[in-house]
Symmetry: C2
Subunit: 371 residues, 2 copies
């Protein structure tokens, strides 16, 4: 065990429900099912849980989840801002809970009926107050210009990035074909067994021309994901091979966060065996790859085109199919995929994966096997 590791923590169990367009059950139930699956995976019981972390926008109250699961007490409970962008920060906060002794085993959960309930991708009522903690207060600056969906507001920024990087939607097709290839061989993915061709991508209708076509966008998904964080020492007694938290941080901006996580972990971009990068929309991955220093600034177009992030590439990205291919679980299913890669149990396993990054812009972590 490294003495320089700043956070003594590991992800010891992961769980999820089915991912669908109509779960047929409440978000509370989805959260409970995912939580029980994560506990069973870890070999822990409900009464071992004494901390919880979720998103500001998650509808399931900690005390309600305590009640339905039977968790006896909590020494730690937080909600993280910035919607799915905050998913990468959950690991830092759970690790801080165990590092300071406030909790022994922290349950991180997120469950949403984002398709059968309130649809995330639909236009927002410009007169409605944004959800507290969603990070959508900025919508007031976009609404007067008619930009009322995540796709629309994101594309205003993406246009500038595309211009400076000579990117077109055809470049995004390269990325999407690659992750649909991963999804096709991942039984948990919505698009299991449904790979696409470049031509199929280019034939899909525009959502925001000239940035995003239909196949560049994640689908609104119903489902739940949970995982459990414990100390490394406790992890050794549990059922699974621990996914050790080599570095974990929260911040505002992928480059800032990644820099701190690399420094903590003593692991640089070239040491990564795989990376999970938030992709509600394809274009997000292109700017993130540069922010994460996975390729030099200005070179992302050629980097992606080279196949570097595809199956068999030098650093496969979103090996579960990403949020676009597996399901939009608000970033949480990128974290569980990072755990599977470190365990060696991913559907699209990268042989010998030792260092796996997950980044969602407002948070990131590097997981690894215990050395």
């Amino acid at each position: 065990m490294s003495t320089t590791r700043p956070l003594d923590a590991a992800i010891v169990g992961i769980g999820q429900t089915d991912f669908s367009k109509d779960s047929g059950r409440s978000e509370l139930q989805l959260a409970a099912e995912a939580s029980l699956a994560a506990l069973a995976d870890a070999g822990l019981g409900v009464s071992d849980i004494d901390g919880m972390v979720t998103f500001s926008v998650d509808p399931t109250e900690d005390v309600e989840l305590m009640r339905v699961l039977g968790v006896p007490s909590l020494g730690y409970s937080v909600r993280l801002p910035h919607g799915g962008g905050g998913s990468g920060a959950t690991v830092y906060h759970a690790a801080a809970a165990v590092a300071t002794g406030a909790a022994r085993h922290v349950l991180v959960y997120r469950a949403l009926n984002a398709r059968s309930g309130r649809r995330f991708g639909q236009p927002r009522d410009p007169g409605a107050a944004p959800s507290v903690g969603s990070g959508w207060s900025f919508a007031q600056w976009y609404a007067p210009y008619g930009a009322l969906t995540p796709a629309a507001t994101l594309s205003m920024h993406a246009m500038a990035f595309m211009s400076s990087h000579a990117l077109s939607n055809e470049d995004f097709a390269e990325y999407v074909v690659g992750i649909r290839d991963f999804a096709a061989t991942n039984p948990s993915a919505w698009f299991h067994n449904r790979p696409i061709t470049f031509e199929e991508h280019q034939a899909s209708r525009w959502i925001i021309e000239p940035v995003l076509r239909l196949l560049d966008c994640c689908q609104e998904t119903d489902g739940g994901v949970a995982f459990v964080v414990s100390t490394v020492e406790r992890a050794r007694d549990l059922r699974q091979r621990p996914a050790v938290v080599l570095g974990a941080a929260q911040g505002v901006g992928a480059a800032d966060v990644a820099g701190r996580v690399y420094a903590q972990a003593g692991v640089g971009p070239t040491d990564l065996d795989a990376a999970m990068v938030y992709d509600a929309f394809s274009v997000e991955v292109f700017s993130s790859l540069e922010d994460l220093a996975l390729c030099p600034r200005g070179e992302v177009k050629d980097f992606v085109a080279s196949g570097a992030i595809r199956r068999g590439g030098i650093v496969p990205v979103n090996t579960n199919g990403g949020l676009i291919g597996e399901g939009y679980l608000h970033g949480m299913n990128l974290l569980t995929e990072a755990v599977r890669q470190v365990r060696g149990t991913a559907a699209n396993q990268v042989a010998g994966a030792r260092h796996v990054l997950m980044s969602s812009g407002r948070g990131a972590c590097i997981l690894g096997g215990e050395t």
Copy 2:
């Protein structure tokens, strides 16, 4: 500096706006004003802030407050559940941020227009979804019985406590007269210069008979409160005498939280020189005093009647006038009062105060001067 102190942190600056029934400005502005006041008090600049903590229900986004203040980056940002009950947990989370190195100076803020905006005490629409993270998901169990306000739901529990402890509303009058005495000599209090008599309390109209009269209830208040948490070492270079975090914890239930905070601090109930105890309603203090072990179980009626928690008592409680007398800033103004007592600058200063507890049920801390 004690080597057994689990959290190396201190509150180094406090700030607040005026407390009113019509602030005439946005909650974002109130948050900014309180934040700048806290920074000025500490002798810190906006660019020193790199962490933020607020409530799940606070309408001010961290990124909006960054923008209006000019905070360059954040390494830590959380929102705490359980409404005002979570206020006592803010200190633990800010301390965890500096303890793990995620931030150097954490700004804790809360601003609300709870009177001129959405009134907290008014009946909730039983068909409306509760605010996420408010802890009000339980309201679904009360609404069918017509209990739609905080006063009504609380009183259902209070009836049982009053029965088992032989308490009547006349006992609560003793408490309220005492804190209105404190408020009368606190220039920041809404009820400055307005003490009440026992008879005046008993003449006020029932809100929930036989539990709460008008003068047992806090008033919905507009205003903002902020404070800054840093490491003890950094605190020594700043403007104010540090209010050292001797213990701080979060939990579900005052007795559980208090037990952990006393253990951390190595300070017991009899060592306390003053205590700040969440009092949206008078009756809450009675159960809390027993949960906090400030008096033996079953004896709170006689304990309060003895004058123990009044001016000059053995452990004065809510020396600013409490949430009922000073203003309902969702518990945050009890934390700033605890800081003032430790500094020796409170309007109703307890001579030589060395150990001051703040408890809000879902969180607590003990502050002290550096030894």
